[in-house]
């Protein structure tokens, strides 16, 4: 059993830490800030916010309001963490902006919208709006393709229905394409890619670039350039 003196001391320390945390948020000019290690206080709030963001993105359908508010708060914290020169070097802040942005970028809606805007650009090319179908078929089994108009998110993913008929000539293009490229997570519901796990950590940040690479490749093929020098995507 701990002696009384020791117990009290621990409580006092915890109180001080809590006080420092509370006053830090209200008044950055407070003397407590100069005394306590501000980097520790703000990094704990930063960590908490990152945790919340992770948790929110892990949901199959994140609460958008919660997500947006947490991201905005995280950005505020990042901004406040970068300027002061007296702070001891903190490993997190430099990577922070990209981490937060990439986390958001890898969210369900972000990915589908990024894909949507790219597809909208590509849809001007003849018959392209039909392209996602064969690719989606390569996706996880049982996932229905096209058809049901139910959610606008799904529509975004499949691209705008301009009503162009598939040109027979386009079929020939696909014969040359190495379909192993499409046995990938491109059309997998992004929520699966966000499941927590150590192996997903680095993969998360790479995913946006990977998808854009895939789409660039697709664009090249369909526009007719034959430059197929890009190697298969890394680290999957």
């Amino acid at each position: 059993m701990l002696s009384k003196g020791l117990k009290r001391k621990r409580e006092e320390e915890e109180e001080e830490e809590a006080l420092a945390v509370d006053t830090w948020w209200l008044d950055p000019g407070h003397p407590a800030v100069a005394q306590a290690a501000p980097a520790v206080a703000s990094s704990s709030l930063f960590d908490l916010s990152v945790l919340k963001l992770h948790h929110s993105l892990r949901q199959s359908e994140p609460d958008l309001r919660h997500l947006v508010l947490v991201v905005n708060t995280l950005r505020r914290i990042q901004e406040s963490m970068t300027p002061p020169t007296t702070l001891p070097p903190v490993p997190n802040p430099p990577a922070a902006p990209s981490v937060a942005d990439n986390l958001l970028a890898s969210s369900d809606v972000a990915l589908s919208a990024s894909v949507a805007s790219l597809l909208e650009d590509l849809s001007h090319i003849e018959g392209l709006n039909q392209v996602p179908q064969p690719l989606a078929d390569e996706g996880p089994p049982g996932r229905p393709v096209g058809g049901a108009p139910a959610s606008l998110g799904a529509l975004d993913l499949l691209g705008p229905a301009t009503g162009c008929l598939l040109d027979d000539g386009l079929e020939g293009l696909f014969e040359d394409i190495d379909t192993s490229m499409y046995d990938s997570e491109l059309w997998v519901p992004p929520s699966e890619g966000l499941k927590p796990g150590p192996e997903n950590g680095p993969g998360k940040e790479e995913t946006p670039e990977l998808d854009e690479a895939e789409l660039d490749y697709l664009m090249d093929v369909l526009v007719g350039t034959q430059a197929l020098e890009r190697p298969p995507g890394p680290g999957r």
Binding site: W25, L45, S60, E61, L64, V68, N72, I77, R143, A148
Partner: protein
Amino acid sequence: MGEDTDTRKINHSFLRDHSYVTEADIISTVEFNHTGELLATGDKGGRVVIFQREPESKNAPHIQGEYDVYSTFQSHEPEFDYLKSLEIEEKINKIKWLPQQNAAHSLLSTNDKTIKLWKITERDKRPEGYNLKDEEGKLKDLSTVTSLQVPVLKPMDLMVEVSPRRIFANGHTYHINSISVNSDCETYMSADDLRINLWHLAITDRSFNIVDIKPANMEDLTEVITASEFHPHHCNLFVYSSSKGSLRLCDMRAAALCDKHSKLFEEPEDPSNRSFFSEIISSVSDVKFSHSGRYMLTRDYLTVKVWDLNMEARPIETYQVHDYLRSKLCSLYESDCIFDKFECSWNGSDSVIMTGAYNNFFRMFDRNTKRDVTLEASRESSKPRAVLKPRRVCVGGKRRRDDISVDSLDFTKKILHTAWHPAENIIAIAATNNLYIFQDKVNSDMH
């Protein structure tokens, strides 16, 4: 204010088991109809329960004007979106009554994705004396029929029938947070996080998008729609609030797509109160037009504000709901309580405003006398027909005997949903799975 004696009966109809609270019974919305005769509640399990006010009778004056269960029905069921592999919750987010146009009552109820129009009718007579059928409905042996009789209508026990008349589906990608019936009684709007749609009450396969704040690149998303409402008298005007604390008044006559607001109501941030949580606590959780149509009431995390439609720069009145939480924002952020969405209400004459808080407390502010009161909705602290005792939260310093200290507040007991009778001093308070109805029978003054 006096307390309605029927609270126990109402509580029993919600609690399946006295000691165990099922999550499906958590009330998620409360709404009086336009006369105040009916009160509808929606819960997390997708059910709607309608209460009706008993007519006052001289024989039993002590039960005059109390609310009894009128009808219960399952409005929404859990659904599965196969395209996205997502379950759609059956929780009723909002109920709005339609103005009554004939003997039937109608209401709109919505979950995250689908809005339904329900018609509630009464049957208190039935025809008797059929020629071809007997009393049980079986066909009669024609050889026994010797004379013709005219069926007559005989009274029967009141039967309340509810039927779904319209289902407005597939209009929203994101979660619906509000619905509002237009004063033209023909259209209504539904708002989700990023879009607002206008529907005609008779047409279910089409809706018009009138507000769209979805950015081209979702990575640029910084603001969502949190609530919206039509103006009570001007059918072309509506307001919507955002997570950044702004209100936008839009005029549907100006353009088909009301992305450009007619008026923007925003209060500049107070630099002395600035913190990392400034944005979160400024997020508006509810917006309500006054009955007069001249003012708007908004609720954010710590305050309720009254805005004059003619002044965009700042609210004309600000009331502190629980300012003692300002120093606790960090732990409230940690527990996610800072994201709780409280509603607010006007009384019939727009002179008093009400909103909920934690520890089953709710607050009322008299705009004329500037007095405010904190009351508690709990069975432990209030007996039937007893006068509610004002409560006080102390923040250190002098503490009176019945004061509650800030640190002993129960943050799991939150009053998010409240409603005020359109004409009288009767209020409905939803405390988790319990519904409290309080009536002021003595006088209408605030004490």
